[in-house]
Symmetry: C2
Subunit: 153 residues, 2 copies
Amino acid sequence: MTIEVIAIGHVRGGRQEALDDNWDRVQAAIELDGNQFQADALAGLADFSHVEVVFHFHQLDPAKIISAARHPRGRTDWPEVGIFAQRGRMRPNRLAVTVCRIIAVDGLSLRVTGLDAIDGTPVLDLKPYLSGFAPRGEIREPDWARAIMADYW
Amino acid sequence: MTIEVIAIGHVRGGRQEALDDNWDRVQAAIELDGNQFQADALAGLADFSHVEVVFHFHQLDPAKIISAARHPRGRTDWPEVGIFAQRGRMRPNRLAVTVCRIIAVDGLSLRVTGLDAIDGTPVLDLKPYLSGFAPRGEIREPDWARAIMADYW
């Protein structure tokens, strides 16, 4: 069964291509669609330091989505893991979720850093980052998951 | 422009209706669709303590989505904020993102606690929780955002 979603807005500025690393130095705007939303859609968001951005890897060819287990970033020194045990882009539904730092909110425009999405990316949702939504309990992750993030931001 | 996504699986078990609070005591399974995925889709996920679940508030009537600013949970003692400054369900695209604790992985079945989704909910994506994807820098949030989470888990 198909579920239809629409872009609530788009990423403007930032990178033109998806590089692997150093995303925290990138500043970009998310411009909400003025045909869908009144000026108050972002009201109160500036009281938060961070926002969770749900976006769509729109440039990926769906035919290239690989469901089989693979090495993250093709690194054969890291284990082969299933698509739902990694955050790679070539995934079913091509959905991304990233917590960004809020720089400024101005009407329907939101400026952030640390958004790992290229210029023109469709944005599907914005949620304020509540500390209460952080994971409860001890965090455990394999070594490759720490290594892959070493230069990401 | 419409973007089509499909359920990669469904929530099985857990609550039958969406209560406001005490979600951490709820255990539920996410059963991936065996027609779409091989047995290795979740391979390696058990090495993580937590998983980020993207799901769809499928029971909400789209006609009831309110884009105007409103009081979270109708609490008039809390400020009116825009839909993208709160995590309420009645939101455009009806997308949810929650970090859950992994209890067990068995083939295409994943047992978790802390998934605030009811039995039958379509799941759109699963991503391992990497500590490197946590927000960078100090977290700031308004008082109501802490208050709303007091009994949530």
